[in-house]
Symmetry: C2
Subunit: 140 residues, 2 copies
Protein backbone atom coordinates (compact mmCIF):
# COMPACT_ATOMS: atom_id res chain seq x y z
CA UNK A 1 0.00 0.00 0.00
CA UNK A 2 1.42 3.33 -1.05
CA UNK A 3 0.74 6.36 1.11
CA UNK A 4 1.64 9.93 0.24
CA UNK A 5 3.12 11.46 3.38
CA UNK A 6 2.20 14.83 4.81
CA UNK A 7 5.02 17.36 4.96
CA UNK A 8 5.50 16.72 8.69
CA UNK A 9 5.65 12.95 8.15
CA UNK A 10 8.14 13.44 5.32
CA UNK A 11 10.30 15.62 7.59
CA UNK A 12 10.31 12.76 10.12
CA UNK A 13 11.74 10.45 7.42
CA UNK A 14 14.57 12.93 6.92
CA UNK A 15 15.10 13.38 10.67
CA UNK A 16 15.40 9.61 11.11
CA UNK A 17 18.18 9.34 8.51
CA UNK A 18 21.85 10.16 8.62
CA UNK A 19 22.88 9.56 5.02
CA UNK A 20 21.02 11.32 2.25
CA UNK A 21 21.54 11.80 -1.46
CA UNK A 22 22.13 15.38 -2.39
CA UNK A 23 20.87 16.30 -5.84
CA UNK A 24 22.12 19.36 -7.65
CA UNK A 25 22.31 20.54 -11.23
CA UNK A 26 25.54 21.11 -13.08
CA UNK A 27 25.94 22.27 -16.64
CA UNK A 28 25.83 18.74 -18.04
CA UNK A 29 22.73 17.71 -16.08
CA UNK A 30 21.84 16.31 -12.67
CA UNK A 31 24.49 15.27 -10.14
CA UNK A 32 23.80 13.10 -7.07
CA UNK A 33 26.12 12.30 -4.16
CA UNK A 34 25.69 10.68 -0.75
CA UNK A 35 26.22 13.04 2.19
CA UNK A 36 25.96 13.00 5.95
CA UNK A 37 23.65 15.69 7.24
CA UNK A 38 21.81 17.10 10.21
CA UNK A 39 18.36 18.65 10.06
CA UNK A 40 17.30 21.41 12.43
CA UNK A 41 13.86 22.84 11.83
CA UNK A 42 13.72 23.70 8.16
CA UNK A 43 17.46 23.83 7.67
CA UNK A 44 19.70 20.93 6.67
CA UNK A 45 23.40 21.20 7.48
CA UNK A 46 26.37 19.49 5.89
CA UNK A 47 29.90 20.13 4.78
CA UNK A 48 32.16 19.10 1.94
CA UNK A 49 35.55 19.56 0.45
CA UNK A 50 35.74 21.76 -2.65
CA UNK A 51 34.72 19.89 -5.77
CA UNK A 52 32.08 19.26 -8.34
CA UNK A 53 29.01 19.45 -6.09
CA UNK A 54 30.14 22.69 -4.43
CA UNK A 55 30.95 24.23 -7.82
CA UNK A 56 27.53 23.19 -9.10
CA UNK A 57 25.60 24.52 -6.10
CA UNK A 58 27.43 27.85 -6.17
CA UNK A 59 26.25 28.33 -9.76
CA UNK A 60 22.76 26.88 -9.29
CA UNK A 61 21.63 26.90 -5.63
CA UNK A 62 18.47 24.85 -6.26
CA UNK A 63 19.11 21.50 -4.58
CA UNK A 64 17.30 18.57 -3.03
CA UNK A 65 18.11 16.00 -0.39
CA UNK A 66 16.56 12.57 -0.80
CA UNK A 67 16.46 10.23 2.19
CA UNK A 68 15.06 6.73 2.30
CA UNK A 69 14.65 3.81 4.66
CA UNK A 70 14.40 0.61 2.63
CA UNK A 71 13.61 -2.71 4.31
CA UNK A 72 12.72 -4.46 1.08
CA UNK A 73 10.95 -3.74 -2.20
CA UNK A 74 7.58 -3.70 -0.45
CA UNK A 75 8.47 -1.86 2.76
CA UNK A 76 10.18 1.47 2.38
CA UNK A 77 9.81 5.18 2.84
CA UNK A 78 11.41 7.98 0.89
CA UNK A 79 11.32 11.73 1.31
CA UNK A 80 12.74 14.68 -0.59
CA UNK A 81 13.49 18.09 0.81
CA UNK A 82 13.71 20.79 -1.84
CA UNK A 83 15.51 24.01 -1.06
CA UNK A 84 18.34 26.40 -1.63
CA UNK A 85 22.03 25.96 -0.99
CA UNK A 86 23.61 28.60 1.25
CA UNK A 87 27.24 28.65 2.22
CA UNK A 88 28.08 29.33 5.86
CA UNK A 89 31.13 31.57 5.97
CA UNK A 90 31.04 33.04 9.46
CA UNK A 91 33.83 31.28 11.45
CA UNK A 92 31.74 30.91 14.62
CA UNK A 93 28.78 29.48 12.70
CA UNK A 94 31.09 27.13 10.79
CA UNK A 95 32.56 25.89 14.07
CA UNK A 96 29.10 25.31 15.58
CA UNK A 97 27.86 23.37 12.56
CA UNK A 98 30.98 21.23 12.28
CA UNK A 99 30.87 20.44 16.00
CA UNK A 100 27.27 19.31 15.66
CA UNK A 101 28.13 17.20 12.62
CA UNK A 102 30.99 15.60 14.54
CA UNK A 103 28.65 14.77 17.43
CA UNK A 104 26.33 13.08 14.96
CA UNK A 105 29.12 11.27 13.14
CA UNK A 106 31.81 10.35 15.69
CA UNK A 107 33.57 8.18 13.14
CA UNK A 108 34.48 11.15 11.01
CA UNK A 109 38.16 11.29 10.25
CA UNK A 110 40.89 13.08 12.23
CA UNK A 111 41.08 15.51 9.35
CA UNK A 112 37.58 16.59 10.19
CA UNK A 113 38.36 16.83 13.90
CA UNK A 114 41.18 19.14 12.87
CA UNK A 115 38.63 21.35 11.16
CA UNK A 116 36.88 21.86 14.50
CA UNK A 117 40.13 23.27 15.87
CA UNK A 118 40.45 25.53 12.88
CA UNK A 119 37.02 26.11 11.46
CA UNK A 120 38.35 29.01 9.44
CA UNK A 121 40.32 26.57 7.30
CA UNK A 122 39.23 27.50 3.81
CA UNK A 123 39.38 23.98 2.43
CA UNK A 124 36.17 22.76 4.06
CA UNK A 125 32.88 24.22 2.86
CA UNK A 126 30.10 24.31 5.43
CA UNK A 127 26.65 24.80 4.03
CA UNK A 128 22.97 24.55 4.69
CA UNK A 129 19.94 23.81 2.60
CA UNK A 130 17.14 26.22 3.43
CA UNK A 131 14.17 23.93 2.95
CA UNK A 132 11.29 25.16 0.88
CA UNK A 133 9.10 22.04 0.76
CA UNK A 134 9.26 18.35 1.66
CA UNK A 135 7.40 15.47 0.07
CA UNK A 136 7.44 11.76 0.80
CA UNK A 137 5.95 8.35 0.19
CA UNK A 138 5.53 5.31 2.43
CA UNK A 139 5.19 1.82 0.95
CA UNK A 140 4.01 -0.73 3.51
Amino acid sequence: MTKVLSENEAIEVIKAGRIGRLGCVEQEGPYVVPINYLIDGREIYSHALPGKKIDAMRVNPLVCLQVDHIRDDLHWSSAIAFGKFEEIRNPQSRRTVISKLLCGFPKMTPVESQIVQDAAAPDSIVFKIVVDRVTGVLES
Copy 2:
Protein backbone atom coordinates in the same frame (compact mmCIF):
# COMPACT_ATOMS: atom_id res chain seq x y z
CA MET B 1 42.09 6.64 1.95
CA THR B 2 40.10 8.00 -0.95
CA LYS B 3 40.60 6.47 -4.38
CA VAL B 4 39.13 7.76 -7.60
CA LEU B 5 37.83 4.73 -9.50
CA SER B 6 38.44 3.99 -13.14
CA GLU B 7 35.34 3.87 -15.31
CA ASN B 8 35.39 0.05 -15.28
CA GLU B 9 35.70 -0.04 -11.49
CA ALA B 10 32.85 2.46 -11.18
CA ILE B 11 30.70 0.30 -13.46
CA GLU B 12 31.36 -2.64 -11.10
CA VAL B 13 29.96 -0.57 -8.21
CA ILE B 14 26.78 -0.07 -10.23
CA LYS B 15 26.63 -3.74 -11.27
CA ALA B 16 26.91 -4.81 -7.62
CA GLY B 17 23.92 -2.69 -6.58
CA ARG B 18 20.21 -3.16 -6.97
CA ILE B 19 18.86 0.12 -5.64
CA GLY B 20 20.13 3.37 -7.08
CA ARG B 21 19.11 6.97 -6.83
CA LEU B 22 17.94 8.40 -10.11
CA GLY B 23 18.65 12.07 -10.55
CA CYS B 24 16.79 14.17 -13.07
CA VAL B 25 16.03 17.83 -13.57
CA GLU B 26 12.57 19.29 -13.43
CA GLN B 27 11.59 22.90 -13.89
CA GLU B 28 12.04 23.73 -10.22
CA GLY B 29 15.45 22.05 -9.92
CA PRO B 30 16.91 18.61 -9.24
CA TYR B 31 14.74 15.62 -8.35
CA VAL B 32 16.07 12.37 -6.85
CA VAL B 33 14.22 9.08 -6.32
CA PRO B 34 15.27 5.54 -5.39
CA ILE B 35 14.76 2.98 -8.15
CA ASN B 36 15.46 -0.66 -8.80
CA TYR B 37 17.51 -1.18 -11.92
CA LEU B 38 19.48 -3.61 -14.04
CA ILE B 39 22.63 -2.74 -15.91
CA ASP B 40 23.56 -4.48 -19.16
CA GLY B 41 26.68 -3.19 -20.85
CA ARG B 42 26.29 0.55 -21.07
CA GLU B 43 22.52 0.54 -20.67
CA ILE B 44 20.61 0.74 -17.41
CA TYR B 45 17.02 -0.50 -17.38
CA SER B 46 14.17 0.36 -15.09
CA HIS B 47 10.47 1.08 -15.10
CA ALA B 48 8.06 3.38 -13.34
CA LEU B 49 4.48 4.47 -13.13
CA PRO B 50 3.64 7.82 -14.71
CA GLY B 51 4.56 10.70 -12.45
CA LYS B 52 6.94 13.48 -11.71
CA LYS B 53 10.18 11.73 -12.66
CA ILE B 54 8.83 10.47 -15.98
CA ASP B 55 7.42 13.92 -16.79
CA ALA B 56 10.78 15.47 -15.95
CA MET B 57 12.84 12.99 -18.00
CA ARG B 58 10.58 13.36 -21.02
CA VAL B 59 11.25 17.09 -21.01
CA ASN B 60 14.94 16.89 -20.08
CA PRO B 61 16.47 13.47 -20.86
CA LEU B 62 19.78 14.18 -19.12
CA VAL B 63 19.81 11.91 -16.06
CA CYS B 64 22.17 10.18 -13.67
CA LEU B 65 22.03 7.08 -11.52
CA GLN B 66 23.99 7.15 -8.27
CA VAL B 67 24.75 3.86 -6.53
CA ASP B 68 26.63 3.40 -3.29
CA HIS B 69 27.70 0.68 -0.88
CA ILE B 70 28.15 2.19 2.57
CA ARG B 71 29.58 0.12 5.42
CA ASP B 72 30.33 3.12 7.60
CA ASP B 73 31.61 6.69 7.27
CA LEU B 74 35.11 5.44 6.50
CA HIS B 75 34.35 2.48 4.26
CA TRP B 76 32.16 3.14 1.27
CA SER B 77 32.07 3.35 -2.47
CA SER B 78 29.88 5.47 -4.69
CA ALA B 79 29.51 5.67 -8.44
CA ILE B 80 27.47 7.80 -10.82
CA ALA B 81 26.43 6.88 -14.32
CA PHE B 82 25.53 9.87 -16.47
CA GLY B 83 23.41 9.37 -19.53
CA LYS B 84 20.24 9.90 -21.47
CA PHE B 85 16.73 8.71 -20.71
CA GLU B 86 15.09 6.73 -23.49
CA GLU B 87 11.62 5.31 -23.30
CA ILE B 88 11.12 1.73 -24.49
CA ARG B 89 7.82 1.57 -26.35
CA ASN B 90 8.08 -1.60 -28.42
CA PRO B 91 5.80 -4.20 -26.72
CA GLN B 92 8.28 -7.08 -27.16
CA SER B 93 11.18 -5.03 -25.78
CA ARG B 94 9.01 -3.85 -22.87
CA ARG B 95 8.11 -7.45 -22.06
CA THR B 96 11.76 -8.55 -22.16
CA VAL B 97 12.92 -5.73 -19.88
CA ILE B 98 10.11 -6.23 -17.37
CA SER B 99 10.76 -9.98 -17.26
CA LYS B 100 14.42 -9.33 -16.51
CA LEU B 101 13.52 -6.80 -13.82
CA LEU B 102 11.15 -9.31 -12.24
CA CYS B 103 13.89 -11.97 -12.21
CA GLY B 104 16.13 -9.53 -10.39
CA PHE B 105 13.43 -8.41 -7.99
CA PRO B 106 11.20 -11.39 -7.20
CA LYS B 107 9.49 -9.45 -4.44
CA MET B 108 7.95 -7.03 -6.85
CA THR B 109 4.24 -6.69 -6.42
CA PRO B 110 1.51 -8.71 -8.15
CA VAL B 111 0.69 -5.52 -10.02
CA GLU B 112 4.06 -5.74 -11.66
CA SER B 113 3.63 -9.44 -12.40
CA GLN B 114 0.43 -8.46 -14.13
CA ILE B 115 2.44 -6.12 -16.32
CA VAL B 116 4.46 -9.07 -17.60
CA GLN B 117 1.22 -10.63 -18.79
CA ASP B 118 0.26 -7.41 -20.49
CA ALA B 119 3.39 -5.47 -21.22
CA ALA B 120 1.45 -3.25 -23.56
CA ALA B 121 -0.39 -1.80 -20.59
CA PRO B 122 0.13 1.92 -21.04
CA ASP B 123 0.35 2.71 -17.35
CA SER B 124 3.86 1.35 -16.83
CA ILE B 125 6.75 3.20 -18.42
CA VAL B 126 9.76 1.09 -19.29
CA PHE B 127 12.94 3.01 -19.91
CA LYS B 128 16.66 2.81 -20.22
CA ILE B 129 19.50 5.15 -19.48
CA VAL B 130 22.02 5.11 -22.30
CA VAL B 131 25.20 5.63 -20.33
CA ASP B 132 27.64 8.23 -21.50
CA ARG B 133 30.22 8.14 -18.68
CA VAL B 134 30.66 6.66 -15.22
CA THR B 135 32.69 8.02 -12.33
CA GLY B 136 33.25 6.70 -8.83
CA VAL B 137 35.12 6.96 -5.55
CA LEU B 138 36.21 4.34 -3.02
CA GLU B 139 36.84 5.28 0.61
CA SER B 140 38.65 2.54 2.51
